[in-house]
């Protein structure tokens, strides 16, 4: 079956440009502001939206995403709240793909079957669950695929050629290449190595490959867009949220605007790269 993610990548491929995938944390800094940010993302240039499901113990995330999750939890965000957020976004946007990203425990506690029903009906298209490698595919990956959701897997610099087929089996939508061995928001990757890695992944799959971790500027985004089907930007966006808050950690008039301005800027980097049309 074709999902919004498949449709979006096909369309952008035909236009000859890479996708901008934006990550923001659900409920950060509060549910209403978070919804306003997400609603503003497509017009600012986001082609796909990843929404973080906050978790107390995000073991692969750096300080920026950790802090965003804790802000959201402090503001009362729950998984049910995140699903509601997507329903509200989807009421006004039928085409932008939405991917939930996070860790397994909140989903496990919500109940896998119930979660998949609610996620599908909320208009969610795909899932990225950081702590579910292919070795644990029976937990959520296979049920999610059966429910018609994409299950997007991370491939990393430590995923060698022997292991790639295992990672790619049961992966759908796109492959998320983590450009560095490290936590989110860490150092800027070596773009030359990234292009080589993307080519290596593409020799194993026809799925689009999006690259993330360490993308901070329009120039970074352009460098990645030249060699990949998509550019993921996250930590720098949640940092923009943080910098816009007042002394009490509350949203200000600048919050939505500063994220939008940053997305527009990074989108210009992505759009500056013309690729062969597919």
């Amino acid at each position: 079956m074709t999902t919004r993610i498949d449709t979006r990548f096909a369309k952008l491929g035909a236009e000859g440009r890479a996708a901008l995938v934006t990550f923001v944390m659900a409920g950060d800094p509060d549910p209403a502001t978070s919804l306003a940010i997400i609603k503003a993302l497509p017009a600012a240039g986001a082609d796909l939206i990843e929404i973080g499901m906050p978790f107390t113990d995000p073991m692969a995330d750096g300080p920026a995403v950790q802090a965003a999750g804790l802000r959201a939890l402090a503001a009362g965000e729950t998984l049910a709240g995140t699903l509601k957020l997507v329903r509200e976004f989807r009421a006004g946007d039928q085409s932008t793909p939405i991917i939930l990203m996070g860790y397994y425990n909140p989903i496990y506690i919500y109940g896998v079957d119930r979660f998949l029903v609610d996620a599908k009906s909320a208009g969610i298209d795909g899932l990225i669950v950081v702590d579910l490698p292919p070795e644990e595919d029976d937990e959520l990956c296979k049920p999610a695929l059966a429910a018609g959701l994409n299950f997007i897997r991370l491939a990393t610099p430590t995923t060698d050629d022997a292991r790639l087929p295992k990672v790619l089996t049961n992966t759908s939508g796109f492959v998320y290449y983590v450009s560095i061995a490290g936590i989110t928001g860490a150092t800027t990757p070596d773009f030359g190595k990234v292009a080589t890695a993307v080519a290596r992944i593409k020799s194993h799959t026809n799925l689009p490959v999006a690259v993330g971790f360490g993308v901070k500027t329009a120039a970074d985004a352009a460098a990645i867009a030249a060699g990949a089907d998509g550019v993921v930007v996250g930590s720098t966006l949640v940092d923009a949220v943080r910098h816009s808050l007042d002394a009490n950690g509350k949203a200000t008039a600048k919050t939505v605007e500063s994220v939008v301005a940053l997305v527009k800027n990074i989108a210009s980097g992505v759009h500056s790269v013309a690729k062969p049309k597919k």
């Binding site: 906050p54 978790f55 107390t56 113990d57 995000p58 073991m59 692969a60 995330d61 750096g62 300080p63 950790q66 939890l73 729950t78 998984l79 049910a80 860790y103 397994y104 425990n105 909140p106 989903i107 496990y108 506690i109 919500y110 950081v130 702590d131 579910l132 490698p133 070795e135 644990e136 897997r153 991370l154 491939a155 990393t156 610099p157 430590t158 995923t159 060698d160 292991r163 990672v167 983590v178 061995a181 490290g182 936590i183 860490a186």
Partner: protein, 406 residues
């Protein structure tokens, strides 16, 4: 769930995917998955290698000081007025706790694997000290992550780690205790994949850690079993140990799991009392979830967010427990009970005064319940309590609770 009649042995786990029943597994980021797989392979090879086993045995004997004595606690026995209480004296090991049994095994393995940088998390600091010690012995770089709260309440161990040449990194994220130290260690490992070995201190984490740590700690139960047979001509009737992550407990328990006559008790930290919500008793007060690479019983809120554990003992202050304990709990083979901060403090003083042994606050939890259970047993009942650590590190925080040393 009740004890399965069809189960031939409680000692065969985990299965090849690292599961003890529904517990365990490998819930880690893809970056770490190849590392976890290579560790599993390297450990299987080492385990079958007589040279590695010989090295282990030699260092355990001459460096750690094994076997640790099985000591008949005569005055504690008189005080309890029932069962004969023996203490397995793992607090006499080099570095003062059972932790070094495991560290030695992991560091020898790390060197076989060509790793030069060792990272560890620590709660009470005992695992950190053991890791720093063995790294000093073999000239390896050692980085220890410790919650900022624990750095404050375990100052003697902080100083020891620094003396031993380890780099100590206080962790200020989350609740600033053991679980956050483990998060930070995992983040370090994700970042430094080529040269780094993560030396986990308890029988938790992704497979193969729970199995590997259990194997290394099983020396406790293997010795205790032989020592009791030598002393009394038969097996003990009950064995008891404290549980945070549960490495000292699984080490004592595992060699006895298939002896149906042996009652087995694990004592969790009840903090201010399980009913208060301020405790670290994952089995008594938690439910199954996924954290730090494994499915196990966890303390969490209704949305699956991990709760902060509370215990006077930094070593038990963890919202989870090793997956094999979760399985043994569900199977009914081990009875899991708990002791409060106050009960541990009382037992800390009791053992000091009656036996001249200052226990760590962690095994003081086991002592508290052991005395109570012993009182209900006949005089010929043989009990082993795992005295997994000594209390030197705790004297300042205990003094604070008791209102001074006067």
């Amino acid at each position: 769930m009740t004890l399965q009649q069809t189960l031939n042995s409680f000692r065969t786990g985990p299965d090849e995917t690292g599961h003890f029943g529904q517990f365990g597994g490998r819930f880690v980021a893809e970056t770490l998955m190849p590392l976890v797989l290579s560790l599993e392979k390297a450990y299987a090879e080492a385990k079958a290698d007589p040279h590695y086993q010989g090295e282990m045995k030699s260092y355990l004997t001459h460096y750690v000081g094994r076997p640790s004595p099985l000591y008949f606690a005569e005055r504690l026995t008189e005080h309890a007025g029932g069962a004969k209480i023996y203490l397995k004296r793992d607090e006499l090991n080099h570095t003062g706790a059972h932790k070094i049994n495991n560290v030695l095994g992991q560091i020898l393995l790390a060197m076989r694997m060509g790793k030069t940088r060792i990272i560890a998390e620590t709660g009470a600091g005992q695992h950190g000290v053991a890791t720093a010690t063995v790294c000093a012995r073999f000239g390896l770089k050692c980085i220890v992550y410790m919650g900022a709260v624990d750095v404050e309440r375990q100052k003697p161990n902080v100083f020891r780690m620094k003396m031993l040449g380890a780099e100590l990194i206080p962790v200020t994220s989350g609740s600033k205790t053991l679980k956050d130290a483990m998060n930070e260690a995992l983040r370090d490992w994700v970042t430094n994949v080529a040269d780094t070995f993560y030396c986990i201190g308890t029988s938790a984490g992704p497979h193969p850690y729970p199995m590997m740590v259990r194997d290394f700690q099983s020396v406790i139960g293997t010795e205790a079993r032989a020592q009791m047979i030598e002393r009394e001509g038969r097996l003990p009737d009950s064995i008891i140990a404290c549980i945070g992550g549960g490495s000292n407990a699984i080490g004592l328990f595992h060699p006895f799991l298939d002896d149906p006559s042996v009652e087995i008790y694990g004592v969790e930290a009840a903090g201010h009392g399980v009913a208060s919500g301020l405790h670290a008793a994952s089995l008594t007060g938690g439910r199954p979830g996924v954290l730090h690479g494994n499915r196990t019983y966890l303390l969490m809120d209704p949305d699956g967010q991990i709760a902060e554990a509370h215990s006077i003992s930094a070593g038990l202050d963890y919202p989870g427990i090793g997956p094999e304990h979760s399985w043994l709990h569900d199977m009914g083979r081990v009875k899991y009970i708990s002791a409060t901060d106050q009960e541990a403090l009382d037992a800390f003083q009791l053992l000091s005064k009656l036996e001249g042994i200052i226990p760590a606050l962690e095994p003081a939890h086991a002592i508290a319940r052991a005395v109570e259970i012993a009182a209900t047993k006949p005089k010929d009942h043989l009990m082993i309590v795992n005295l997994c650590g000594r209390g030197d590190k705790d004297i300042f925080s205990v003094a604070e609770h008791l209102g001074g040393m006067e």
